[in-house]
Amino acid sequence: MKHVIAFRKSIAVICMVAASACTSKFDALNVDPNNPTDAPATNILARSIQSITGTLFGERLGISYIGFFAGHTAPSTFGATYEYRDEIVTGQWSALYYVLSDCQKVINQSAAEGNTNMQAVMMTVKAFTAQYITDMWGDVPYTEALKGEEGVTRPAYDSQETIYRALLAELAQAAGLFNQGSIDRLGEGDILLQGDVGKWQRFCNTLRLRVAMRVSNVDPALATETIAAVLNNPADNPVLAPGEEVRLTWPGSSPYNEPWFTYLTGTGPWYAMNATIIDTLKAYGDPRLPEYAQPVPDSEPAAYAGLKTGRPSSEFSLNNSSRIGTRYGYRAAGISPWLRYAEVCFLKAEAFARGLATGDAADAYREGVAASLEENGIGDAATYLARPQVAWTVDDAENLRRIYLQKWIALFKQSHEAWSESRRTDVPLMEAIPFEYNKSHTRPPFRYPYPTEEVSLNGEHIEPYLEGLENGDRFWGRQMWWDTRSGVH
């Protein structure tokens, strides 16, 4: 057995050598040389802004899907109806929650470091995104969300009401942080507002108005309270000023071309203008028509025609319909509008008209229309405002409808907001889709479908929301908390 002992001795020696001398460098060896464990907040801000814009204002949620739901754009070919594809839904769901997660990272870090401007900016960005998440899907995880590192891998769902209340609280907190006068800068990564903290503050407060108005039908008290907090204290809570807009201007060079441009000039002319908006603009003699839409090809004189969603493509040809206007769809260095000044006016106009706040609704309405026209390069608003379908009337209900409609027109290229507002106001009235599994519905989908993945990964929490929803209904979903329309399905 001599050799066995020799084996043992040798093993012992080799073990000792290997274990002690060589593995000491393993800790250093396993440090990732490609990716840092820490990154500047400003670069995360930049990424968040770009990611939100690419998702919410890109092809699928801008032109396709939600663009269709909003009545602004229409599919010109295959699937000339509403459809959803699970993988795309999953991609959007993921992208938006990842943004929230990155924001939260920076919020925590900035709070710890006392960089209250960055903290407030990120809270604003997060709230902007979170509102769109809940407006798309309704009840979603919020209070337990973003805690993966703390071991919460199956977050509970919150009701939309809870989320809305949280959003308003967070925005109020952010607004307060802006007022602390911190000197921390936002850095080069503020690709949205170029480091203008004041403008961020105004954006933040305007968002509070937007969020408040959305819930005004279901929780007027909360809306009133919020609107009052903002509008009654303009020194501490300024909102966007005339001419001010929150929008991302794309560099216009590959790979950061404006997303509509990328798709419309790239993969093929899948999209045209929706008949709902084209017919409205035509009926009103709206000067924005040639900005929003291109004439039907080879039409002389220029004629405009929209596509009706859900009509078989044998009933139309792309060559008989209007494509999206050059200003909005065909500029590489184009814009993605997050919030326009016109919307500020319409928010106020509605609040005044409904008595949620005190002010001149007609003035605000006219200012909103004029701001939208001006944004589209049309200086003369008077002519348009004098049109019988546009002018302020003596009928309050009709005035409110006009506010809604003009807001919906002004929200072009903000398909998400336009879809939400049309669900809240039922203005304009969207046609039912006489096609396939959409047939039984009288309105565009009430919400966006939950991704199948979420069903398998967080089933226990999401199941209650899917109960009783079969097939097409799973797509359509149920009405939002703030959607008080009745008799729609």
């Binding site: 274990a19 805690k147 891998t153």
Partner: protein, 1185 residues
Amino acid sequence: MNLSIHADSAVQNIFRRRSRVIDNIPSYLIAMKLTIFMIVALNVQVSANALAQRISLHLKNQPMEYALNELQRQSGYAVIYNPEYLKITHPVTLSVKDAAVENALKLIFANQPVSYTLERGVITIVPDRGLPAAATDSHRRAKAAESRIQGFPEVRGRVVDSLGQPLAGASIRVINATGQRTTRQTTTDVNGYFALTEVPDNAMLEVTYVGYVARQVRAAATMGNIVLQAESAGLDEVVVTALGISRSKKAVGYAVQEVAGEELAQSRDINLVNALSGKIAGVQVTNSGGAVGSSSRIVIRGNNSFGDNQPLFVVDGVPVMNNSTSVTRSAGVDYGNGAADIDPNNIESVSVLKGANAAALYGSRAANGVILITTKKGAGAKLGIDVSSSLTADNVYIMPKYQNEYGQGLYGSEYLWQLRQPDMAYQDYARTYSYNYVDGRGGGVNDMIDESWGPRLDAGLHIDQFFGDDQPWIAHPDNVKSFFDTGITSDNNISLSSAGEHAFGRLSLSNLNVTGSLPNTELYQNTVNFSGTLMPSKRFRAEVNVTYLKRYSDNLARGQYGSSENPFMSVGGWFGRQVDMNLLKQHWAENDALGNPYNWQQGVDNPYLASYKNTNAMNKGRVFGNVNATFDINDWLSLKGVVGTDYYDEFRQDVTNSRSTRSRVGGSFGQTMITSSETNADVLLLAKKELSSAFAIDGLIGANIRNNKYRSMWVNAGELTVPDLYTISNVKGNVSSSTYFSEKETQSVYASANLSYNNYLFLSLTGRNDWSSTLPANNRSFFYPSATLGYVFTDGLDLGSSVLSYGKVRAGWAQVGNDTDPYRTVATYAPSSSTWNGVTFYSYTRQIPPLNLKPEITSSFEVGTELRFWNDRLWLDATYYHMATKNQIMSVDVSRTTGFGSSLINAGNIQNQGVEIQLGGRPVDKNGGLRWDVNVNWAANRNKVVELYPGIESLDLGPANNVIIQAMPGKPFGQIIGGAYQRDGDGRIVVNAQGVPNVVSNQVLGNILPRWTGGVSNTLHYKNLLLSFLVDMRWGGDFFSYTTWHNLANGTLPATTANGVRENGMIVAGVKEDGSVNDIRISAEDYFRGGYVWDLHENSIIDGSYIKLREVVLGYTWQLKANKYLKKATFSLVGRNLALLYTHKSNIAHIDPETGMGVGNNGLGVEVYQIPPTRSVGLKVQLGF
């Protein structure tokens, strides 16, 4: 066989023994030796090629003398011995096939009282444990025998086979009374007769004939018929085991199966992995389609891990990389798997170590088995030149099926015409509502629709089309098929081998040229392989094995899904059935009248433009090999060092032409540069000792350092300033770029010991401890052992009989630990690949980092038996195994609402158990006539995911590809989850108010794992003629077929026109929601193309069962005159992938049921517009000089 490395200590031992003995050798022996050496030398000159390096012996209680003569005959080595020594030897029983001489010698001399030396091609028998007294004066008797010059003036006889058929050209050699082979020899004539003059008394005649067992018969004046028996179907008796050590299969306690290199080279598949399909029990190969150079996935004994399930590839004892590109559904060029670089021309044998038992000594990565490749070494032959050349034609052989009744467009069916516009003529309806071409961009009627729901073909219609107005609307049934060319594969190899006193070696050059069946696809590979062994002294031996290869292509096919990316995506489905492919081929480089690229529509590229101008080039240089040296410390201990490396760099460039629909401005391109290396350094101390006459032990202890490095650089220009100038400085806008580097290291110590008792009971023990840089410091070290026991009960219990000639049982248990990839333990931020006006984006990791990562452990247990009956006419090797992998390091998906997409954890338990059976036999064996060998491989594996992680109900094995492939506790790995028809209690489809089926999502639709796999190979020999064929089969194993799914929706599958649905519409067989029988008539479009179909996957799940005629080889070998330059010539007709003999009826699109996507878990169970596979038929010529 890598004997230079591993057989060394035993051989060196013998050298030393001989050196002690040689001084005592009597002078007559030296004289005798010299004489014989001269004779042998002469013989060697005459027949250089006779020094074969491989021999086969099948002996059952044969005298030692016979064994040595046989060895001499086959090897061409001289054997020198004093016959007296042989008198004390025991009869020899063994069976080896294609074994190295050294190994055969070791087996012949195992447990013999004499030993041997091997030097310079001369084998000398030396006394070992003292000679019996009788032998001491043997020389006197020998001399006396020689002095009697009597004998026969003439000896006549005839050589026949067992059927009495004459054997022409058999060799008869005189062996004198002392047992020495003389130069006196003759050959038989065409009728098998021979005559020899002056044959001494007591002489023997040695009768040899290729393919037959040689005989020695005592000389007599009239010999009559000498009957030679054909060689029996040998077993792979000597096998290469872990660390490349050749061991008697008898002594191995786990399942190993070998494939001779010849068999792989015979019907050359350009991917080595494919060539293993059907040849090894329990091995499942899935290739990813018919594109040139595409990768293949190989799994042994099922899927054990949520990570990589492929075995480790080892060449000459050193691991080589089998990296492959990650191919996903939507993107990716398949650049092949690393093992495909290995040139079969250089392979001596492939040994598959199936379980973790076999592989404990290779460490972590061997948990899924090891594919051990031994390259040719050139030992033995003084000078040998081999040339082989093959040329095959490759044609698509599993063509998807298409309908030829309706062309491009929408709403063109006769049913819809009658429904919508019954008053219109069909001609007018078709042009107005269904299809009419204006610009292919939507300007006409549905002229950018890439579906075939248009007007009826061959109905006399005239419609404006892309090539002219008012053209006849007619079918082109072969339009898809005509897209494919005949591919050509030529494979040429020349090798030179040489052996001398202190060295031997082999140099080989190979050239492979492949042009694919897809237009403009190609692949080239040149391989240089050198193996050299130096033996400067008896105690020292050094060897180098090196392979350098260059693999390149100007264009590999882009697969998967995405307009214009995979040309087959449009051609294969999203296509007009009326399109004349020849027009596209003739005019692809031109523009149409409107200035657009000539095409059938403008939404996708002309498939020829895509093939010729959107290219994916690659250029890879790779070198792998090892240097090793062995030094004998004493007669039982030696020290060995091995350094092996595998390094490659690979350049890739993908280009999109400016005319492509994918191009934005000026075209685009990307370049990737990859370098990757793996270096292994081992030091081993090897021991071998007989403890007593019954007990023997051999063993080793060793240490290993392994280092892996990977570096990549990627640049991409999304738009170009000057069109189609593919330089990065020509970028328009921003360059996207990234660099990546990773490194990991493991250090290990290991030991193994093999104990044998009376050469019938064998115990092996191994142990290994790894330290991995990828794990947290506290879990960095992990140990894993193995044990196997083998018992040859026919020897141990002396049960051997004429019925059961050999029987063995074996059992083994093993653990293998595994680490993970580098940099996974800490969360980081990831940068974007291009800046926004100079601002880099950073985002946080999407994977929750692990808290305390531990190594994962695979435990396996196996039992097996090996039985041979009727002198090897029938044999069986059966194994049962059970494997469980626990504590898996796995990335589990988490709800994205956590802010993360996945979490890296230790969890899960997957169990595989199965049975592998190899059954072989020789149903027909007519001596000198037909010989028929059959080999059956069969294996069934049952997989069960025992648990995942508390609270996790399922684990997605890859990203969703519309269906999700999941692991679920209690279910086998790979459940296919997707949308199914809603059904009532009786299983009837439920339709909605419109008469269209309802869909329910998240249903289990199938499972990807096969029930069993198998292969049957047949080899028939008739004289010099060889016919072999392999049938390969798989039963069960579902997959989701995009081709089927999409081609139902786009109206190209025959099912979309069957049963008159386009003429009469259809009523879905089923019930309405209220339970009444459905009576709602709908159009074919409503059914096949309705929006619901995108949620429905059940209709596209295919049962992947198949039977394929995988290989046929028909060969003829000429054994030419030994004194001519050309010694041997073989001509073979070879065929590969010849026929799909069976596919399941669910395969309505008729695609290759064997197909997969990429090689990772990502691509499991999903087929995406697979490039159809090809059938190769060709000619192979092998010449030996």
